[in-house]
Symmetry: C2
Subunit: 423 residues, 2 copies
């Protein structure tokens, strides 16, 4: 019977079978070792026979488990039978069993089908899988319903640019930049509280460590709020939950990268700084005046938050009207909107949305838009839409910042950028 590497200690003195990849071979003059890798970890197999195996070959190894001081975990297998399930060629294009720290990002991504076997690289996606789960679990506990909405849409939610066009039978559609209209529709449908975990597409020509053209958006929309403060409270509680669960369950993934989470208990201290004041804080720290919260300013304000509030996160709210999409709820000359900056990177944009039909109709001309352009979207306001708002978290950016990855592309299994369309 197959036993997982992590469980061999429970089979001490018994004959079992391990199945997995040959992670490493060691020849200590007459005594040979196979380090086998399976989904649970590594196990050591010892034999006196000569071994003619390439690393990454898939094997089933049968033998007796015994204690061994020198083996990882304190137990090893004395090999009695070796089956080759699939041979690996000897010209492995990427070192699976070494720390990839000195390998450039391009080489990692060019060899993606193999570089994902590297345990350190794979740990990024073990953590990411859990982040998705924690996100959904938290929201379900708050009575949110999961939705799946179309990614093929007529136009953009955030304006007409930065859209990828799709040939759709005899017409053209676009890849959705966000599920914005749909998540609002589902709030207005009566679900009130919805979330979606899905791809989003931005045809931006940026090539920076913080941009990818296809990403996983963790979207939230919530009815019966009063201001964006209700949303920031929710997000702070979500972050507290995420960080707590990561600390509970993902220490090995953190350790692989030297990653850490902020102190979950400090999430209730995340400062809320109006946009104007944020610029002032950054200007003071830099000793020169800044006019917008650019990437440098995002780093500075998080350093400030760490020093002043013990957490490297800042909500910036009260953005001016012209910096936000037309559907953002106004608040005098400002808006009920916010960003969340985490370790120098914006991971969330959100806010209250306009929900009143009259206000929407008055707003559109100010943005050079017409009711007709909005198509069916306008009808959710015409027929009774509660006060609501929401936000979205970029999954890859969140993963990146927890683990301390240099580039957001490292946190996407198969990233797409301006030049990269495969593998």
């Amino acid at each position: 019977m197959r036993v997982l590497a992590k469980d061999i200690k429970d089979s001490n003195g018994q004959e079992i079978t391990l199945s997995g990849w040959v992670h490493r071979i060691r020849d200590l003059g007459g005594v040979n070792f196979i380090i086998l890798r399976d989904r649970s970890g590594l196990a050591q197999i010892v034999t006196n026979d000569e071994l003619d195996l390439n690393v990454e070959t898939v094997i089933s190894a049968t033998g007796m488990i015994h204690e061994s001081e020198k083996a990882p975990g304190g137990y090893e297998m004395q090999l009695t039978k070796l089956d080759i399930l699939a041979e690996a060629s000897s010209d492995l294009p990427f070192p699976v069993n070494q720390d990839p720290e000195n390998i450039g990002l391009e080489a990692i991504l060019d060899n993606r089908m193999i570089s994902l076997r590297n345990p350190k690289i794979l740990s990024i996606f073990r953590l990411q899988a859990d982040l998705i789960r924690y996100f959904a679990d938290f929201l379900r506990s708050r009575d949110f319903t999961e939705i799946k909405t179309s990614k093929l849409v007529a136009g953009g939610t955030e304006g007409g640019s930065n859209l990828f066009e799709v040939d759709y039978f005899d017409t053209k559609v676009c890849l959705a930049q966000s599920p914005q209209q749909y998540k609002q529709t589902m709030v207005a449908s009566g679900l009130e509280r919805v979330f979606e975990i899905g791809q989003a597409y931005r045809a931006e020509k940026h090539d920076t460590p913080r941009h990818i053209n296809e990403y996983v958006s963790l979207d939230i929309e919530m009815g019966y709020i009063e201001t964006e403060r209700d949303l920031m409270t929710l997000e702070a509680e979500l972050m507290e939950y995420l960080f707590r669960k990561v600390r509970e369950n993902n220490q090995a993934d953190l350790d692989a990268w030297g990653g850490t989470t902020p102190d979950p208990d400090k999430c209730k201290n995340i400062p809320i700084i109006p946009h104007d004041q944020a610029k002032k804080i950054v200007s003071e720290r830099l000793g020169r005046r800044v006019f917008e919260i650019n990437p440098e300013a995002e780093r500075v304000i998080c350093d400030w938050a760490q020093e002043e509030h013990g957490i490297p996160m800042v909500f910036i709210n009260a953005f001016p009207r012209k910096k936000r999409p037309f559907y953002t709820y106004p608040d005098g000359l400002k808006t009920m909107s916010f960003d969340l900056i985490f370790r120098g990177l914006e991971i969330t944009t959100g806010g209250r949305r306009i929900n009143e039909y009259k206000m929407m109709k008055e707003t559109l001309p100010k943005f050079g838009m017409t009711e007709e352009e909005l198509g069916d979207y306008i009808s959710i306001f015409k027929y009774g839409c509660p006060p609501h708002g929401g936000f979205a978290i970029g999954l890859e950016r969140l993963t990146q910042k927890i683990l301390g990855l240099t580039n957001v592309k490292e946190a996407s299994l198969f990233p797409r950028d301006r030049k990269r369309t495969g593998p």
Copy 2:
């Protein structure tokens, strides 16, 4: 403080606030009733004042809760204060508070932003949200890891046709028909057991009650299997779990449509019928020879299974080589592949995949393909890939068949078909 409609019984004798949509107005000559709808259900509000409210207007109503024999749930609110949160226009394009059974599908979908407010229609998506959760919970309990893979790919997995093309900067990519190559890569990466919940795209010109061009695919891939029987066992256990959970938690959604699940205990009896024999069974029942398992045959074989095995589901396996994609593991003249038919509709296709590099290289020319065409995909076989296989379940079809919906489009929030690109 806001209380949900379902909880007003706990506030008997207290003044509370309800917020929601005006579902219905009743005027009983001097006594007026508002039936308010929120995410939890309906509540009755009574007042002697004249009401000038359109249905779907969003209100907050404050008043004392008292017992009332005639009220739904046995309690109602005596109104003291009414706030209008958002007015609804009086020309509602779709009846939210009536059973939509006599409304045609086109009208339901043309007015999608409003028809989703209909509680019966919305219940489809409450169930669907839970199906997603049950699916993920079951797989996590079996040590599967969730993945999110790119939907922008160089070519098709199932052959070159039926692909939507995307303008991607200066080049073209296609929308993924399935995460096939990526889920196999993640098995080979060492995760061994993976699942993905994501959109899949088929540019098929079909316009039938069983086809949509964008659907949510519940994908599974699993390493260290021997034959497709391991996969069918897993899927039968998954179905048993899903049906059990639906019965436990979704009775209201089932009742809205008169839907049912098969008996969960009978899932271990799902017959496994080789493709040849399935044709024979259908031919005998129809009294004429059938040459393929077409939609009619799928209905007939499920009727047969219900009569013979007490469950309206059949696994059909041992498909001939030419009926399956090139990557399907051969088994003599047949393949280690299967479909799952549920109430007359194929909801799953799956099978063991070729995992040996040598076999893959020998197979490609038989399908008129070359190693170069496979691009990076071939490398997972070249460098050690364990025996593995998987399957996918169409979420909308599964939802459709549990609720007994006539058309799969009813089970998609914003369906896309050959002509429908919105809302």
